[in-house]
């Protein structure tokens, strides 16, 4: 089994243009998708994020930590939320990503986690 990050990338300005009366439908679709992940036993974690304007960047790689306002990347497209799933292979992950993309009406990037969960040596 392998774990994959499915992150939803989108333009927040575009998202903001979705009429409010369409929100309940989208929320319901995402909730149903979350339920599906759990009942299929592939759910690890998921969450929606607040807007990129709430992000803070910390850089402690130098002598003193530097804290700055704003998202790390100067771009219009940001991660709006993500799922972490555990499935046998990429084909399975792509099938869930397809359903997730339909539910949230956004582009979903599928990226494998490094390594596998450690199994104790026999």
């Amino acid at each position: 089994m392998a774990q994959y990050l499915m992150s939803v990338h989108g333009n927040e300005e575009e998202y903001a243009k979705v009429p409010e009366d369409q929100w309940p439908e989208m929320f319901a679709a995402v909730e149903a998708f979350n339920q599906q992940l759990q009942s299929d036993g592939v759910w690890v974690f998921a969450g929606g994020l607040q807007g990129a304007e709430t992000a803070t960047v910390v850089d402690a790689s130098g002598d003193a930590p530097v804290i700055t306002d704003g998202p790390y990347l100067e771009t219009k497209e940001h991660i709006g939320g993500f799922w972490v799933i555990e499935v046998p292979d990429l084909d399975a992950a792509l099938r869930y990503a397809t359903a997730g993309s339909q539910a949230c009406q956004g582009k979903v990037e599928v990226r494998p986690f490094q390594g596998e969960p450690e199994t104790p040596e026999a």
């Binding site: 990429l90 084909d91 390594g115 596998e116």
Partner: protein, 403 residues
């Protein structure tokens, strides 16, 4: 069979895809498979010229390569116990026929042509892993630096491993789409051979031959898939005209080709496949294009071509794929049926500016209508975006013949 180096390499090339496919299933790693196959070749080059070619060279290579891979895994295990645990695209199922498909090469094809890989990487990986072409040969065929091509293949293999692209035939739901991706790769390999880009040879027969070999393999593995049958027929019927298609470095259009130079055996084989598709009556893109080529190769002379049949086939294709390129091909048949003026009216509406075949078709229709100045401008435009030396020579000659 020759036991010299050339003979050994020919056998190796012939067996390469099978070797890699089977080793990858056993050892779960494309790199291990490639290294083991390469080591088996070295042993064969030493031994066969001395001992003679073994009675079953494929089985000999498989056994030798398998032993080398096991040796390597033992060494790696001594060095790093975690190394083996990290082996990836493993296939937990034992070696048994997966439905109708018993050949590991089909798994390998689907892995190499996975939609999660970049299209150019799919082509390169397929030629490397199934075709047994060297990185240098693939780089030369696609006019890129060997190091660039090497990186492209290495990156694709790293993604297969890292993202766990599975080593298996896709599930039934995904199969039609995934077969489509494999057929597209084979078609692109053929096209690059048939209408080669760049300043080198106008036709690269090694690529058309490799594409046909892959299409034959796919057809043998998926005999019930009609689009696969259609693609093989299309490639055979196109290939049958290859030798008549270029003369003195210049492209010879269909109506000027010496039909005596067409390969009758390939035509007979292609026609039989097209008939099988027609009998099944579930047309798809490649089947229809194969049928168009069957009409052309059926005609004893250019004048005897059944253009109404060609136009009807393109009408059928338009319903599946209403693209301007299909409309352009249909217009060529319309020109024969209804005259160049009607065809030109269709062609000029198509949004294909910058596509060499669009300009070349317009040029030809304008020439036939006696509009030399307009034709000349279109020959110029076609030449500006034409990337095949034989086609460019042909266009230059036609432009020079304008009065």
């Amino acid at each position: 069979m020759s036991s010299g180096a050339a003979g050994v390499e020919r056998v190796f090339r012939e067996e390469y895809g099978r070797l890699i496919a089977s080793l990858t299933r056993r050892f779960g790693d494309l790199d291990i498979a490639e290294d083991a196959a390469g080591e088996a070749l070295v042993v064969a080059l030493e031994r066969w010229p001395v001992d003679g070619v073994p009675p079953n060279p494929g089985a000999w290579l498989m056994t030798t390569a398998g032993n080398r891979a096991i040796d390597r895994l033992r060494r790696d295990k001594l060095r790093d116990p975690k190394h083996q645990a990290a082996a990836m695209i493993h296939d937990p199922t034992p070696h048994e026929p997966t439905g109708v498909v018993a050949d590991d090469r089909l798994r390998l094809l689907f892995t190499c042509c996975h939609p999660a890989l970049a299209p150019e990487a799919r082509i390169a990986l397929t030629l490397r892993m199934l075709g047994g072409l060297t990185v240098a040969e693939i780089a030369a065929a696609f006019l890129v630096q060997e190091t660039t091509m090497g990186q492209r293949i290495t990156r694709a293999k790293a993604k297969i491993k890292g993202a766990r692209i599975p080593y298996r035939v896709p599930e039934a739901d995904d199969l039609p789409e995934r077969v489509g991706a494999v057929l597209a790769v084979v078609m692109l390999i053929f096209n690059e051979g048939y209408l080669a880009s760049g300043d080198g040879e106008p036709v690269r027969a090694e690529l058309t031959a490799e594409a046909i070999r892959l299409a034959r393999l796919l057809h043998a593995l998926l005999p019930g898939d009609l689009e696969t049958t259609g693609l093989l027929a299309l490639l055979l019927l196109t290939e049958s005209r290859r030798l008549a298609r270029v003369r003195g470095g210049e492209l010879v259009p269909l109506d000027e080709q010496d039909r005596g130079g067409w390969d009758r055996a390939l035509i007979a084989e292609g026609h039989a496949l097209v008939r099988a598709c027609l009998a099944a009556d579930r047309p798809g893109r490649y089947q229809i294009l194969a049928a168009v080529n069957a009409v052309h190769t059926d005609a004893p002379t250019a004048a005897a071509t059944d253009w109404s049949q060609v136009a009807a086939l393109y009408d059928q294709l338009t319903r599946l794929d209403p693209s301007p390129i299909v409309a352009l091909n249909r217009a060529v048949a319309v020109a024969e049926l209804d005259g160049p003026e009607v065809a030109l009216a269709i062609v000029e509406r198509l949004p294909l500016d910058g596509y060499h075949a669009w300009h070349a078709t317009r040029a030809d229709l304008l020439r036939r209508l006696g509009r030399s100045a307009d034709a000349r401008a279109q020959y110029d435009a076609a030449l500006a975006c034409c990337d095949n030396t034989a086609e460019a020579s042909y266009l230059r000659r036609k432009r020079g013949e304008l009065v």
